[in-house]
């Protein structure tokens, strides 16, 4: 996990150590704003922005912050970044800002961010820290998008509903009626229980893929060893 090379940093963020599926951090926004794909994307990008810059800042000053006040300093940095993001979104993506509501300021308490600062950025060089922040943030965003997309499709039969909130009015037409206009909607998916079920299923899916992969690797290794022995 010491992330020696960039590809492992990236695979860490997206798969092996994905904040949403493996570390189980930042769960609240993950569940709360994954009602639609666009909401997920919006918060995901905001989070990515914060984790990227907090990693950068922490990495830059890692040399001269004493251990005792490391955490409070990180918290301060993150809080400032988040407030900045909040203000910017309020000003330029106002509708999205209203939809995401309290979960924007709550990025502060997303343990993933402080976790990355502590575990990675405070020990690594600037470019590495940036790569890690980006990978983790985008990994988180990816989960948000997948979960949001799934819930949106099952719950309402649409995709990309509300895209205009992020991409301007012309994006309103991006909305896709995937399952036909008279799909009644499976409300469970959009309601709170659906969020839990959805994430549970996603994690199970990931576990299963990992397990199958591991099994295949084991078989491959075994067959390779036979002729050698």
């Amino acid at each position: 996990m010491n992330g020696s090379n960039y590809s492992s940093i990236i695979s860490n963020g997206f798969w092996t150590n994905n904040p949403g599926l493996v570390q189980l951090l930042g769960l609240c926004p993950l569940l709360a704003v994954s009602g639609t794909l666009v909401n997920g994307l919006g918060l995901g990008l905001a989070t990515t922005f914060v984790v990227l810059f907090s990693n950068l800042a922490v990495s830059a000053m890692r040399k001269f912050v004493p251990a005792e006040i490391r955490i409070p300093v990180f918290v301060l940095i993150i809080a400032s970044l988040v407030t900045t993001v909040e203000l910017v979104m309020n000003a330029y993506f106002h509708e999205l800002y209203r939809v995401l509501g309290i979960f924007i300021p709550l990025i502060v308490t997303n343990c993933m961010i402080i976790g990355r600062a502590e575990a990675f950025a405070s020990k690594q060089s600037l470019p590495r820290a940036a790569a890690d922040g980006l990978a983790m943030g985008l990994g988180f965003t990816a989960v948000l998008i997948v979960l949001g997309g799934l819930r949106e499709i099952i719950g309402r039969g649409t995709l990309l509903d509300g895209a205009q909130m992020m991409f301007g009015p012309e994006a309103a037409s991006w909305r896709i009626e995937l399952l036909g206009a008279d799909y009644p909607g499976f409300l469970l998916a959009v309601l709170p229980p659906g969020a839990f079920f959805g994430l549970g299923l996603l994690i199970a899916l990931k576990n299963d893929i990992d397990r199958r992969f591991a099994a295949r690797v084991a078989v491959a290794v075994a067959t390779k060893q036979v002729p050698a022995a």
Partner: protein, 196 residues
Amino acid sequence: MTENLANLGIILISAVLVNNFVLVKFLGLCPFMGVSRRLETATGMALATTFVLTLSSIASYLVHEYLLEPFGLGYLRTIAFILVIAVVVQFTEMIVRKTSPLLYRVLGIFLPLITTNCAVLGVALLNTQQQNSLVESAVFGFGAAAGFSLVMILFGAMRERLAAADVPVAFRGAPIAFITAGFMALAFMGFIGLIK
């Protein structure tokens, strides 16, 4: 201060059951998932959170009301609140450690985790959003914490029972915990409408 008792009761019931912080509002999920594998730890976390949540709800109200608002600094509330919470957590830890080593043994390891429990910051932010008064803030904070504790403890007991279950391999651990939380949220939907 003419707080209407009925109103406070409604705030309480709403925060504990109808708008349960964890299952309906999606706040405080990380500790809910992370430290609920055993009933004992779940209870410890619940107790510690209840204390901190109530206290920081009051403290951040005071900061907001008497420090930020007068200077028109409402936009700084996130920063200010997180500082307040950190101080409250640290303070609690110090007091507990000093006064009751026994309690510290039970709660000690959970206290630092609470800073990053977004329910705590969430309560502070919601207080300002709903323009709660001091007493309302306190009741809301306590109600949120009680709701958190309630589901946390129930969840802890359920997960202990799950340990013996023949859960499909891919679902062992986190996935089945999420599924269970989903069912809990389903059950809590029964409370919808309890508060008009």
